[in-house]
Amino acid sequence: MTPTPNGRTPDPSGTPALAVQGLSKRFGSGDDAVTAVDDVSFAIERGSVVGLLGPNGAGKTTLIKSILGTVIPDEGTVRVLGRDATDGRRAAYANVDAMLEGARNDYWRLTVRENLRYFATIGGIAPDSVADRHDRLLDRLDLADRADTPVRELSRGMKQKVSLASVLAGGAELVFLDEPTLGLDVEGSRTLRREIRRLAEEEDLTVVVSSHDMRVIEDVCDRVIVMSEGSIVADDAVERLLGTVDEYRVRVASDDLTPATVDDLRGRFDVADADSGADPPSLEVVTDGDAVYDLFDALRAAGVTLDRVETVEPTLEDVFVRLTGDRGATEPTPSAAGREPGGATNRPAAAVGDEGGAQ
């Protein structure tokens, strides 16, 4: 009657941490039916960190919950560390835990350490046997000096870290982190990203991260799965995905970039962005190798003396927007900006607000 042990064991057979095959889930019936996940298949190697991206409504959360068993899929199989999650749920779930967005995931009236001990037990591990691990975990997440403080008395960012710590407390080998850096400040986010990488590299933890914040994904993930309208539209290493965008841009800045000049250039080049309010005004042009010469010729002919010239590398966000079309184009940007002060778009921290906290 004892649950399956989940101490780390080497896996010579190379069984993936997670194998999803033909997973589908529809909600509703008849004309109102919505296909949230549509015939999704993928496998994730042990010890890797995989990003799960997609616009709101792409099916990410339904997919994660279907893997966790809190949503029952209509079709398909899920194998966690080689065990069928539908047939042998208990055994399979000894090694999985998740931190879902917008949920506390722990008890605010208990202290940080009490939560770790409680959820280690619920996860199938005797708490005394991992007490030292808990101390190290708290230490790495900068929570050691608050270990005996009730969670309700902590700041929002610290609560987020406690939520992560409680997910890791039971020694799960596969964890899902939905918006793990939500509400964290720059330092907190950096600590958390470093810890995720360390857990994967040193302790062979397999992590699936879902986030709107492309910096987090680029920073910690080996591989990215992009979903749109319930299906996987891309599944590749981060570097290779970045390589799929063969679109290069040149950004020039000059006091001579008058609105009339910019209008003239718009008619002849693929102008991606123009900021006449900047000091000096700037212009971003999509260009292949040859068009660069034409652009500079045109700028010289217009009497523009360049103050600055930069090439703009494609970002994961560009890849994401291209893969998901308009749906992705409008959604990740404000979230990414708002959720991490000093993030890629350098929006002010005041945009963070309290949405998504729910408690």
Binding site: P3, T70, D106, I122, V130
Partner: protein, 276 residues
């Protein structure tokens, strides 16, 4: 607990050698959590005791004004009935409210996917609630006895067993209400009104209508009256009475768990488990 020392052999630190949690570990964790919240946040428990006593005060002093001697004659019966009612309300509302809270906190999902399976966790949580409710209701009982000058036969084993089995059926109703709440969030609040129906069950005329004994609380209430008013000990009850008490408790507990199980299963199918 068997694997506790395996790490020592290969030099691993005692706190760095994961071993599987046993059901004993699980029981300890669930009960300890309940204990911590009880002692750390006593306001909830004290508030419940005060409200129970205020209600009883109104019942007792108001009843004495209206009924006079008639009330005094049946006072011990009223005290026992009220004691059982506070137990029933405590067990029912703590279980159904607890499930609703856990849905809201996102902790229910973690209990549903535990390798232990949800049933033992839910049952242990129910036991924890019943123990807690016994403690608060004992205080209410003591104050009622002092305030009214009534004397009752309080044989601890008999009272705990009979009252415990009586409210086990209510615990089942709490699980059923929790299962419905997981599916239909707003219905949960209305189900709290059920606890006022417990008054009817506690005072059900089981002597005149024997079939009422099959309802939750009713048979247990009649037995508790005999135990506490007439001094009948547990082993002095007819075996048939005890068997019926156990059967009703087990039946409603199992039925409630089945409703909860199917409620959460349907919520998982509809994708609404954890939504709030």
């Amino acid at each position: 607990m068997t694997a506790a020392n395996t790490g020592a052999d290969d030099g691993a630190a005692a706190g760095d050698d994961p071993r599987p949690a046993t059901y004993l570990d699980l029981a300890r964790a669930v009960l300890y959590r309940e204990f911590l919240i009880f002692v750390r946040y006593p306001a909830n428990a004290i508030g419940g005791i005060v409200i129970s006593l205020v209600f009883f005060g109104l019942l007792f002093f108001g009843g004495r004004l209206l009924a006079g001697q008639a009330l005094a004659d049946s006072l011990s019966g009223i005290v026992v009935g009220y004691f059982l009612w506070t137990l029933a309300v405590g067990a029912y509302s703590s279980v159904s409210n607890d499930i609703a809270s856990e849905v809201q906190w996102g902790t229910l999902e973690r209990h549903v996917t535990t390798p232990f399976g949800f049933a033992p966790v839910a049952l242990l949580k129910g036991v924890a609630k019943v123990i807690r409710t016994f403690l608060t209701s004992a205080v209410v009982l003591a104050v009622m006895l002092l305030a009214t000058g009534t004397t009752l036969q309080i044989a601890p084993v008999t009272v705990v067993v009979v009252a415990g089995l009586a409210i086990a059926s209510v615990l089942g109703l709490g699980f059923a209400a929790g299962g419905v709440t997981v599916l239909y969030k707003r219905v949960g609040n209305w189900l709290n009104l059920l606890q006022f129906g417990f008054v009817v069950l506690v005072s059900a005329p089981v002597l005149d209508q024997p079939w009422l004994r099959a309802l939750p609380l009713a048979h247990g209430s009649a037995m508790l009256q005999r135990a506490m008013v007439d001094g009948v000990r547990l082993w002095e009850f007819p075996v048939a009475d005890l068997a019926l008490l156990v059967a009703v408790a087990a039946g409603y507990l199992a039925g409630g768990y089945v409703v909860f199980h199917y409620g959460t299963r349907r919520a998982r199918r509809l994708g609404v488990l954890g939504d709030y």
